[in-house]
């Protein structure tokens, strides 16, 4: 039978719950939270604010040049891929780029997965984008990042912003 650690102190929290500080450093919050006034005068909790219902967006017809732009960008991207990358791209719309710091997965905008060689158990989620990227066809964004990663990886990692850290998937 497991014994409960000794409780060192019990603190009342603002929402009615209690914080139990255990001997050895552990903490447990018990009880049921109930609404209480925001501690800053004039502010209210996010959950108390009325939901804003946005007007439905107009659905614009696709620009006539968009399919051609997409096709050109895709053709350029595919011409830059190695056979394994090309197979991945065609089946998953993602592909890995090897770098001296570990491979980087391109395919999810704003969430590029880096598996650092120096940290075998983890993945870093990075965000790097080309200048004025929203005006580019998506495949051109991958062309841009692919070339920088493949040829000047330090330039990529120098500007990368880490958005997340997680246990590496098998």
């Amino acid at each position: 039978m497991l014994g409960l650690p000794a409780i060192e102190s019990i603190d009342d929290l603002a929402d009615g719950r209690q914080l139990l500080v255990l001997h050895g450093g552990g903490e447990i919050v018990v009880g049921t939270a109930r609404p209480y006034p925001h501690p800053v005068a004039g502010c209210e909790w996010l959950s108390a604010r009325p939901r804003v219902h946005r007007a439905p967006r107009a659905v614009l017809p696709p620009r006539p040049d968009r399919p051609a732009a997409t096709a050109r960008a895709e053709a350029l991207l595919e011409s830059l891929l190695q056979p394994v990358q090309l197979a991945d791209w065609r089946t998953t719309r993602h592909f890995w780029v090897d770098t001296p710091r570990g491979p980087v997965l391109l395919g999810d905008l704003y969430a590029l997965v880096h598996q650092p060689n120096s940290e075998p158990g983890i993945e870093r989620v990075l965000c790097v984008v080309p200048d004025r990227h929203t005006e580019l066809p998506r495949a051109d964004i991958w062309v841009n990042l692919l070339l920088v990663l493949a040829v000047e990886p330090d330039a990529f990692f120098r500007v990368a912003i880490q958005r997340g850290l997680r246990v590496r998937r098998a």
Binding site: D65, A68, A69, T70, A71, R72, A73, A75, L76, S79, L80, L81, Q82, Q85, V97, D98, Y110, L126, C127, V128, V129, P130, D131, R132, H133, E135, L136, P137, D140, V143, N144, L145, L146, L147, V148, A150, V151, E152, A155, F156, V159, A160, I161
Partner: protein
């Protein structure tokens, strides 16, 4: 025949030159200088070569087969 491909909203725009045509070479050189001034980044490759075989270049060379221009990058 050399070609510059500049990624843009149309997919890419192309500028071509022939090494034995000084006018086309001069025009391509002027485009190169303009794009470099816009902080765009040129990579050279032999036609059809993968990105891993590309090379960052700093000056225009009419003997190059293909130059792909991309944009500066930033953390988002």
């Amino acid at each position: 025949m050399g070609v510059m491909r500049i990624v843009d909203s149309t997919g890419d725009s192309s500028v071509t030159w022939a090494i034995d045509d000084p006018v086309s070479v001069a025009e391509a050189e002027a485009v190169f200088a303009r794009l470099a001034g816009e902080r765009k980044i040129p990579f050279a490759r032999t036609s059809g070569a993968p990105a891993s075989d590309a090379e960052r270049i700093r000056a225009f060379d009419p003997a190059l087969e293909e130059i792909v221009w991309v944009r500066p990058i930033a953390g988002g």
